[in-house]
Amino acid sequence: MDAQLKKGLLEVCVLTALRGKDSYGYQIIKDVSPIVEISESTLYPILKRLEAAGFVTTYSLEHNSRLRKYYRLTPAGQERIRTFLVEWQDVMRAYRYIASQGAGDISQTGRKDETP
């Protein structure tokens, strides 16, 4: 996947993982990694960016006599998810158009770069 595209998707996926419940680093990785591949060192700059942008706030809670940093979605972060969904309606329309026109080619061209 294109690095820039993946970065953008991951940001919104992390925000989505915080919907409804505050979460912490390891839990976010466990929630998001089945959807998009994510590692600890990819998550760290994303969380930093999201916090700097005001999409999440952080607080620390004691857990098993150590501190755990929790992340909470802000209204601005919820707005970011909504914006993403609206913007991606266009992308999805384009995707359906492309898929419907070139449906027969997916098996040949779509996987060309993955087969050795």
Partner: protein
């Protein structure tokens, strides 16, 4: 590798970061290792799954370094644009100051006019009374000097009345003008500081 070794190596590799930033990064990885171990992994497994601390540090530093030159570069650009744009914004600034100054001057015009009128009427009244005997003597006491003198006395009293009216007007307008000037200045200062806050 033990957790402590991993964190030590990461800290060493991140030495060029500000202390607070380094501490934040280390506590992030510290927490992740603890959470992985709590999830049933051994310390060794948990640390290994994070990867090489050198690589992690390089990634973090790579994320950091492009930001610093961009911001200083942008600052340099802004300064350059400010200098190059001086003929434009300098002229606008001077025009703005001139407008503000003229508003101030216009504000004080009624007060100045009323004050000048009050003084002028007062001087005319005094002159009329002081000149009374000379007028009567000049015209001749019997040759209609007395009625002329009486007329001038009445005129002087009327002028005195006008002077008092103008003085009253001067007093009240002056008070209002000072208040208006003060609130105009306050508004000006507030709008300037608000702008500064927005750009900051």
């Amino acid at each position: 590798m033990t957790k402590q070794n991993f964190l030590n190596e990461l800290a060493a590799a991140l030495h060029q970061l500000p202390r607070e930033e380094r501490y934040r990064t280390l506590s992030y990885y510290d927490e992740l290792i603890d959470d992985r171990m709590e999830d049933g992994q051994s310390e060794e497994e948990a640390v290994d799954s994070l990867g090489d601390p050198e690589l992690i540090a390089r990634e973090i530093l790579g994320e950091e370094t492009p930001q610093a030159p961009v911001s200083t570069g942008r600052k340099a650009w802004i300064i350059a644009l400010l200098i190059l744009g001086f003929p434009l914004w300098g002229a606008l600034l001077i025009a703005g100051v001139a407008v503000l100054l003229s508003v101030y001057i216009c504000l004080f015009v009624p007060v100045i006019v009323l004050g000048a009128l009050a003084i002028g009427f007062l001087l005319a009244a005094i002159l009329g009374v002081v000149g009374l005997p000379f007028l009567i003597l000049d015209v001749g006491v019997l040759a209609g000097g007395l009625p002329a003198g009486l007329f001038q006395l009445g005129l002087s009293i009327a002028l005195l009345g006008l002077s008092v009216l103008c003085a009253l007007g001067f007093y009240f307008t002056g008070k209002a003008t000072v208040n208006a000037g003060r609130s105009l200045w306050r508004w000006f200062r507030r709008s300037v500081t608000r702008q500064r806050r927005v750009t900051a």
